[in-house]
């Protein structure tokens, strides 16, 4: 693989995302990837809609990065966290995100938190919310079938091709480069929390220590905002997440424990490829 310049800082961004187009496949679909939010977003969209709509979606994602990044000193999240700005002085979307955070926090018995490292940081919800919003923007632009992957969390709309549901491989947390399973469906949201990429970094808010019972947990549902935030909370919960997810309507889970054992919720089989 050729060495490419990489942008790793959340504050760095490309000047004009619209100048680069990804490869258009034989089936008339466009693949594009964009460095944003400290990770890479991957898009699979109909080529005609994508060429038209992707530039504004990418601009919006960079705006969301600048607004919500806890690493950028001048972001709304940083200014609110330091008490330098009131919520009313921040982007309206921040209030929306905080409302969603409060819901997930209550529903998860406090396993989801907006202060994971002590300081104010709603990142546990922002990425999934931004991915789902990007997918909704593509729908509003006329696309019925597309998929957006933000650093390993995926929102799929419609289907991958005529009568072909989306298929999302789940990376094996203990065997690099291998898949643990494949989930499939229409209008599918898939999020995985785990230690494979960044090590133990999800803190159990009740103990203050990094959660280590699971190697990874994958949640499946319809809307990535909740699916992704629940995945973060479920990882902090460990094996107790199984009963919690069973109690949630419309969500299923597949987990691989630190020792390599596997469990899944009752309804997960409906998503198995």
């Amino acid at each position: 693989m050729p060495d490419r310049p990489r942008r790793d800082g959340p504050g760095q961004r490309r000047a004009d995302p619209s100048r680069r187009a990804g490869p258009v496949r034989d089936d008339g679909r466009l693949r594009q990837a964009e460095h944003v939010m400290g990770t890479v977003f991957s898009f699979d969209v109909p080529a005609d809609v994508g060429a038209e709509a992707l530039p504004s979606v990418l601009r919006w994602l960079h705006w969301a990065d600048a607004t919500f990044s806890p690493y950028a000193a001048d972001s709304d999240v940083s200014r609110l966290g330091r008490g330098e700005a009131a919520l009313s002085e921040c982007a309206a979307e921040l209030a929306e995100v905080l409302g969603l955070c409060a819901e997930v926090r209550a529903l998860s018995g406090g396993y989801f938190t907006t202060t994971p490292g002590g300081a104010f940081d709603p990142s546990g919800l922002v990425k999934g919310w931004a991915i789902e919003r990007a997918a909704a923007m593509l729908r509003a632009a006329g696309s019925r079938n597309h998929s957006v992957n933000g650093g390993g969390d995926v929102q799929c709309a419609g289907e991958a091709g005529p009568r072909r549901p989306w298929r999302v491989g789940i990376a094996h947390p203990l065997r690099a480069g291998e898949l643990a399973t494949v989930v499939t469906g229409r209008d599918l949201a898939v999020a995985t929390s785990g230690t494979a990429e960044r090590g133990p970094h999800i803190v159990d808010p009740h103990t203050g220590r990094a959660a280590t019972a699971l190697a990874s947990i994958t949640l499946v549902g319809e809307h990535l905002t909740t699916v992704d935030a629940y995945a973060t909370a479920a990882f902090a919960m460990g094996n107790a997440a199984r009963d919690w997810i069973e109690s949630l309507e419309g969500h299923e889970a597949f987990a691989i424990t630190a020792s390599g054992a596997v469990w899944q919720t009752e309804g997960f089989a409906a998503y198995a490829a």
Partner: protein, 163 residues
């Protein structure tokens, strides 16, 4: 019945995890499972002695072995996993890193129920294993990668280097 099924696995990952095979044969420690016309891939031991290719030609209990059946194809035999229901041993045939065949060398047979469960569960798990490893996929979900981590990811390969 249900409990036993769950214990056996339930997913393709579960079956693969029963393997616990070593990827390289320790000198003298491996048992060749099959011989073939082609030379062994570089980096592998050349201890494969020709023997009939077949499930029952597998190594003895506890052995892990690599053998060559044709150029680019390897047979790997897992260690015997002693489950609560009896010993299970699995053998894989791989072409490059893809699993192209799964054979169950040993499965619990001490009761009729064991046999019934095995006859139901193992073919299902084998199908799942093969479909996962050779699956066409559109996207990959996994622990959040950084921009650097993306370069090494399966997702990057799917995107065709457009980032």
């Amino acid at each position: 019945m249900r409990r036993a099924l769950l214990a056996i696995a339930g997913t393709a990952a579960g079956l693969v995890m029963l393997l616990s095979f070593k990827s390289h044969t320790a000198p003298g420690g491996g048992t060749a499972t099959a011989g073939g016309p082609g030379p062994p891939p570089a980096g592998q031991g050349s201890s494969a002695s020709p023997s009939p290719a077949g499930l029952n030609g597998a190594g003895s209990s506890g052995a892990s072995g690599n053998g060559t059946v044709s150029p680019g194809t390897r047979v790997v035999t897992g260690n015997v996993a002693n489950t609560a229901y009896g010993p299970v041993q699995v053998q894989l045939t791989l072409r490059q890193s893809k699993i192209i065949k799964v054979a169950i060398l040993e499965q619990p047979t001490s009761t009729n129920e064991d046999i019934q469960i095995g006859n139901f569960a193992f073919p299902k798990l084998i199908r799942e294993t093969l479909s996962v490893q050779s699956a066409r996929i559109d996207m990959v979900s996994g622990a959040s990668y950084t921009s650097k981590g993306y370069v090494q990811s399966l997702q990057s390969a799917l995107d065709g280097g457009s980032a």
